[in-house]
């Protein structure tokens, strides 16, 4: 009961910490993007704007106000929504309002919501594949230590960690789609529209990201398992006649998997923020591609909005990872 309480306290502490980090992050981002060189109003207006048009945009976006007021408005928009007035017309941006895109005047939040399904599809599928493959490989190579299996797996894993994800994706595209023609070139189909087509088209992105990430998990699982297997308590159970299978399943894995799970939680959070390269490579209309597009177009509100969302996903995932880890190993908890 006491453990439960301290667990709850630990969780609460981590969440508060995460919220603080996000606040700091938002201030940092805001000041970085709106205060640094380059006039956001000019950027928003485009190349062909004359000074009066720029001034108009500046007023509309509230850029003529003092910095702290701008940030306050930004925060206010986030929680209650805000109005942008352009001359006589007023455009309402509902909470959580991250501003309006310079490019098409759409609320940033709408763009993000539109991009999310593709990103979610990619993240969940890739993560599943990655965990299955990575943990499996890692365990196998740890338990078959010294054998040929381990050597083959080590080489494969090393090659995996040495392959940038875009190379892997390109290679898969070239081989699977261009030469073997086993699959059509992927184009995103929403799950709700046609689940079968969705899965077929996601297959290659899943493979790319999953394979790529799995190398890391294989290494981690292997190192972690070997480390636990070398610990004294494993020796104890062996010395008490507990079978090797039970030693691995009950004792080694219990110690070896928490860091893997924690990393998984973290990576999932990051992937939910968009896997930029995979999305670009396969033309998935997700958050990552949204970010890259907005960077190319210098669409600051979208950049800030997406980065904040990604930051949130990562920070929350970090907190979740910490809590998961603490639950697995309660010694981490302060007594």
């Amino acid at each position: 009961m006491n453990a439960l309480l301290s667990g709850a306290r630990f969780t609460a502490k981590r969440l508060v910490g995460a919220a603080l980090v996000l606040l700091v992050l938002s201030v940092a981002l805001y000041s970085l993007f709106y205060l640094l060189p380059g006039d956001p109003a000019r950027l928003a207006c485009g190349e062909r704007c004359d000074p009066s048009q720029v001034a108009q945009v500046r007023e509309r976006l509230g850029l003529d106000e003092p910095v702290h007021a701008q940030y306050a408005h930004f925060l206010q928009g986030l929680f209650t929504g805000r109005d942008y007035s352009a001359g006589t017309s007023v455009r309402h941006c509902a909470a959580p309002c991250l501003g309006l895109s310079h490019q098409n005047d759409q609320p940033v939040s709408t763009l993000i919501v539109e991009g999310f399904p593709a990103t979610l599809s990619l993240a969940v599928g890739a993560m599943t594949l990655c965990l299955l493959l990575g943990v499996g490989t890692g365990l196998l190579s740890a338990l078959r230590r010294g054998g040929i299996t381990e050597r083959v797996l080590t080489v494969l894993t090393l090659a995996g960690t040495g392959t940038p994800v875009f190379l892997l994706g390109l290679l898969l595209l070239m081989v699977v789609c261009a030469y073997l023609r086993w699959l059509p070139f992927p184009s995103y189909v929403p799950l709700a529209e046609d689940p079968e087509q969705w899965a077929w088209n996601m297959l290659l992105p899943w493979l790319t990201l999953g394979l790529f990430e799995s190398a890391k998990y294989a290494r981690l699982t292997r190192a972690s398992t070997l480390e636990v297997l070398a610990e004294d308590h494993i020796r104890t159970f062996r010395a008490y006649g507990v079978g090797e299978r039970a030693v691995v399943a009950r004792h080694a894995l219990r110690g070896a998997l928490p860091p893997v799970i924690a990393l998984g939680a973290l990576d999932l959070g990051t992937m939910l923020g968009g896997a930029m390269i995979t999305e670009s490579l396969f033309g998935l209309p997700g958050l990552g591609r949204l970010l890259i597009g907005s960077v190319r177009d210098v669409d600051l509100p979208v950049v800030v909005g997406v980065v904040l969302v990604i930051g949130t996903a990562v920070v929350v995932a970090n907190a979740v990872a910490d809590v998961l880890h603490a639950l697995a190993d309660r010694r981490v908890l302060p007594s």
Partner: protein, 588 residues
């Protein structure tokens, strides 16, 4: 329901009763009456470990036998191969690359030739091991009850989970874990060191083994807890008739707990026989040397104290009457807010020039914190430390320290000469040539080859490293050295040499020493006065013989009663006395 089944009837999976393996094979175990046949029989055991290209022989032609219900102690210094023998009994060398020769039979099973299945049946059910470090030897993620239940179920798959749990609680209760039903659900880190060792013993008892192999079972424990654990092992043995093979570096531990003993050195048996005979009338020079090196808590210090006193008085410059170092009401806290703990609370001490003050206490007593405050590595939260009448505000060359761990007290990346030279260079008054000369002089003074200057710490043994540490402490020409557990990491013969060196240096240089130690015997042998610490407080202080021979504080009495003694008769008497005493308070 405690597993007090008769030996041999409850060892699932083994072909148990067939104990009479090879009658009459081992004459050298003559001390043991060759009655029912050996429970453990080791013949010509050799163990070779692959190291680099070649092999190292850890055990060389060892033979012994242990009768059912008997108790055998194996003692030796580090590197003697004693732990290797213990592991060989359970076949723990399988798959590690070690090569075994000779035969090891445990309850009829030939451990070397046994199949994996037979070996598993043997481990835990016939011979159960109690390891040295109880924290790392238990799974940190699982409740201790579940761990014990698991071992039982490994040997008896028909046992239901619930029944196994019940039995786990029963054995925990048997070994004196209070409130066993609740504590069975706790994880190892929630127990104190002594309780954890009890849990390990409970695990060993879980399957009612015929022999318990205990490898340094009390080395990580405080002396009072050590006594309790040894008493427990003794009790288990007398009540259940389980055999005991006790491996230890500590002659005192062995003396009170077993009937027969082997003295090992470099993988070979030096001497064997009944404990009383080996310890009372050792036949071999090495055994005698070992015994001579063991500091005795019951005899007064050997050196006449006046010689050193005179030397101390010889060094001038002190205010004649006042103490050299004085702690006045020092207190030290760690942490803040809710986490705050008080390590040392209102301690006042004095050390006169040339004298030795012993500070003795168990772990957590605050003695190390006190030592660090005396040299001003730590600032007291309250109170002051005065040197020569003036309050210390920072470290100074006159007050130096010798540290416990000879490994971590020397920078592995610097040559020992540079480490010793460091204080001289920091002072910046000597030229390079002078520094080198002085360092060579210091190394020679502590009994090292002056040419050792350019060698690195890992090239030295523990005792030599401690000598380097002493040389470094001498470099700034201190008047007082605080020695924090200077010999606790060393073998007993090395320990005696280092203590001798300290005493010699004290005589030659008129140093004052503060000797911090957990070992009561060590403190008695070198101190003029002694302070006993418990939970941050000095409970008793006085001339060393007075405190040891007529302790006033009950804690001091309990400490002294717990010290293992070399005389088995005396040990038995003390055990009986302790049993009377523990009837009053709960164990743990």
């Amino acid at each position: 329901m405690t597993p007090r089944t008769a030996p041999g009837t409850d060892a699932p999976g083994t072909d148990a009763p067939d104990t009479d393996a090879e009658p009459g094979a081992v004459p050298e175990a003559g001390a043991v009456p060759p009655a029912s046949g050996a429970l453990v029989q080791v013949d010509g055991l050799t163990v070779d470990f692959p190291v680099g290209g070649g092999t190292v022989r850890a055990v060389d032609g060892l033979s012994f036998r242990l009768e059912a219900g008997g108790a055998l102690g194996i003692v030796g210094e580090s590197g003697s191969g004693k732990s290797t023998v213990a592991q060989a009994l359970l076949g723990l060398h399988r798959g590690t690359g070690a090569r075994l020769g000779g035969t090891v039979r445990v309850d009829g099973t030939d451990v070397g030739a046994a199949s994996v299945r037979e070996l598993r049946a043997l481990r835990g059910a016939t011979a159960a091991m109690v390891f040295q470090d109880p924290l790392s030897s238990l799974d940190p993620y699982l409740a201790v009850g579940a761990q014990i239940a698991e071992v039982q179920r490994a040997h008896d798959p028909r046992l239901s989970r619930r029944a196994a749990r019940r039995r786990a609680v029963a054995v925990l209760d048997r070994v004196g874990v209070p409130d066993a039903a609740r504590r069975a659900r706790s994880r190892p880190h929630e127990f104190s060191g002594g309780q954890r060792q009890r849990v390990l013993i409970a695990m060993a008892l879980a399957c009612a083994p015929r022999v318990i192999v205990a490898d340094e079972p009390t080395t990580a424990l405080d002396v009072t807890v050590q006594a309790q654990i040894l008493d427990l092992l003794h009790e288990v043995r007398t009540e259940t008739g389980t055999g005991l093979l006790l491996v230890s570096h500590d002659l005192g531990v062995v003396a009170g707990s077993v009937d027969d003993m082997l003295v090992m050195r470099h993988g070979r048996v030096v001497e064997r026989g009944p404990v009383a005979r080996v310890l009372g009338a050792p036949a071999e020079p090495y055994t005698r040397e070992l015994l001579a090196a063991v500091p005795r808590v019951e005899t007064p210090r050997r050196r006449p104290p006046d010689l050193r006193k005179r030397a101390g008085a010889g060094t001038g410059g002190t205010r004649a009457d006042g103490p050299l170092l004085e702690a006045v009401g020092v207190r030290r806290e760690f942490g803040r807010g809710r986490d705050r703990t008080v390590a040392v609370d209102d301690v006042s001490l004095t050390v006169a020039a040339g004298e030795t003050l012993g500070v003795v206490g168990e772990s957590g007593s605050g003695k190390t914190t006190l030592g660090r405050m005396l040299v001003r590595l730590l600032a007291p939260t309250r109170g002051t430390v005065r040197y020569d009448g003036r309050a210390l505000t920072g470290v100074r060359g006159d007050v130096q320290m010798v540290f416990q761990d000879p490994v971590s007290s020397l920078n592995p990346r610097r040559s020992v000469g540079e480490s010793v030279a460091d204080p001289l260079r920091a002072a910046g008054t000597l030229t390079d040539a002078e520094v080198t000369r002085r360092v060579r002089e210091l190394l020679e003074r502590v009994g090292l080859d002056p040419d050792a200057y350019h060698r690195y710490p890992h090239e030295f043994s523990g005792g030599q490293r401690q000598r380097v540490g002493i040389a470094r402490a001498l470099a700034p020409e201190p008047r007082l050295i605080v020695c924090d557990e200077p010999v606790s990491a060393l073998d007993v013969t090395t320990q005696a040499q280092i203590l001798e060196l300290l005493a010699r240096l004290q005589g030659e240089l008129g140093l004052a020493l503060v000797l911090i130690a957990h070992d009561l015997a060590v403190v008695r042998q070198v101190s003029d006065r002694v302070a006993v610490m418990r939970r941050g407080v000095v409970v008793e202080e006085g001339p060393v013989d007075t405190v040891y021979d007529a302790p006033r504080d009950p804690y001091t009495r309990a400490l002294l009663a717990a010290v293992p003694v070399l005389d088995p008769v005396e040990a038995a008497a003390r055990r009986a006395a302790r049993r009377g005493a523990t009837a009053e308070h709960a164990p743990g």
